[in-house]
């Protein structure tokens, strides 16, 4: 085997195996120059590896972000009860298909199921509209009656309050008039007494 530095480098790089590796190792045991070359490469590697890796300044944590999480469909589909869900879906589909394809009941008119459906729908709409109108009329009447009752109660209360206030004022005026008459009588009596003394 020749002293090819390429062979030594390939051996150094860990890229040889089997017979090639054994051949190179045999050659290295016999060749001082290649052993020195290998030693220099290993020292160079040791120097390079002395520069250690740095710690990452902060963790890469984007996956915890909700944006990157799988959608609810994917999560559900990957969850445990998916088989149960699939079975339930199949049963539901079977029920629906059966409902649509089953034969008509005996005695029932087979003709024009679409027409029947339209008539039923029209009748439902009519009945619904009538019930709604009736309910609205009742509600309006009740509301009006309530308003009238409240108005009457308010008028009655106002009349009572006015009457009460009128009586208070009347009593006040009567009292003041009586007091005034007493003062006038007293003044007359004093005036008469003075004239008598003179």
């Amino acid at each position: 085997m020749s002293c090819s530095s390429f062979d030594v480098k390939e051996y150094f790089a860990g890229e040889t195996a089997g017979d090639d590796r054994r051949r190179i190792e045999k050659h290295l045991s016999e060749c001082q120059e290649c052993r020195e070359e290998l030693a220099r490469l290993q020292l160079t590697q040791a120097s390079l590896l002395a520069v250690r890796e740095e710690e990452i300044p902060r963790r890469i944590a984007f996956v915890s972000d909700k944006v990157f999480e799988p959608g609810w469909r994917q999560r559900f589909w990957n969850s445990g009860p998916r088989l149960a869900f699939a079975a339930a879906s199949l049963v539901a589909c079977a029920i629906i298909v059966h409902a649509f394809v089953r034969p008509p009941a005996p005695g029932r008119a087979a003709a024009s199921p679409a027409l029947d459906a339209a008539a039923i729908e029209a009748r439902i709409q009519r009945e619904t509209a009538a019930r709604v109108n009736e309910a609205v009329a009742k509600a309006v009447a009740a509301s009006e009656a309530r308003q009238q009752r409240k108005t009457a109660e308010m008028l009655s209360a106002m009349e009572r309050r006015f009457e009460h206030e009128r009586r208070i004022e009347l009593a006040t005026y009567s009292g003041q008039l009586a007091l005034l008459q007493k003062q006038i009588n007293r003044d007359f009596m004093l005036a008469n007494n003075l004239r008598t003394v003179e």
Binding site: R40, L48, E54, I60, F62, F68, P70
Partner: protein, 179 residues
């Protein structure tokens, strides 16, 4: 290593089914290595972090396109390579990358500063292709066929770049290597 690959493959399968925690675990296993690979390519921590984030986002979005789950590592590094070079083309459109090694903080230095400087100086002598070949082989331990996949070039080209780089590094670091 074999067990780890099996576990990664299992995590990938689970992540494809929508298991976010499985992908989070995958990210936690690979984020430091991918970050350091990108950091040594572009030399800026903030940019490297942003690109790493983008790499894992793209990997998640394209996980269904990964054919062989045992090839996850080269596939992931291929994305990292593309993203890093895409950024470099934007910030340095003239072509050749100017390697500006990111010097660790003083407290983070766990090796003699002389050796660190010597290695950084030696890596500067390499062109970007040679440097990346060294990164993938020496620091990340990829095989030639995986490197060819990551770099999208023939294995012969990978070998040529790596061997030339090793010769240059060997000479540049000779005084350091000397006893």
């Amino acid at each position: 290593m074999i067990f780890r690959e099996v576990e990664d493959a299992d995590l990938i399968v689970r992540a494809r089914r929508g298991d976010v925690e499985a992908y989070n675990l995958l990210v936690s296993r690979w984020e430091k290595r991918v970050y350091n690979y990108i950091l040594r390519l572009i030399g800026d921590r903030e940019d490297a972090l942003d690109v790493t984030q983008e790499v894992f986002l793209k990997a998640y979005q394209n996980l269904s396109k990964l054919g062989d789950t045992s090839r996850f590592a080269p596939w992931l590094y291929r994305i990292a390579h593309n993203e890093a070079h895409s950024l470099l083309r934007k910030i340095r459109p003239e072509g050749e990358m100017n390697y500006e090694p990111s010097t660790p903080d003083g407290a983070a230095r766990l090796f003699p500063i002389e050796l660190s400087l010597a290695v950084e100086s030696a890596l500067k002598r390499l062109n970007s292709d040679q440097r990346e070949a060294v990164l993938l082989k020496i620091y990340h331990g990829f095989k030639f066929d995986e490197m060819a996949e990551i770099l999208a070039c023939p294995v012969s080209t990978v070998k040529s770049r790596l061997y030339t780089a090793l010769d240059l590094l060997k000479d540049a670091l000779a005084p350091v290597n000397a006893p």
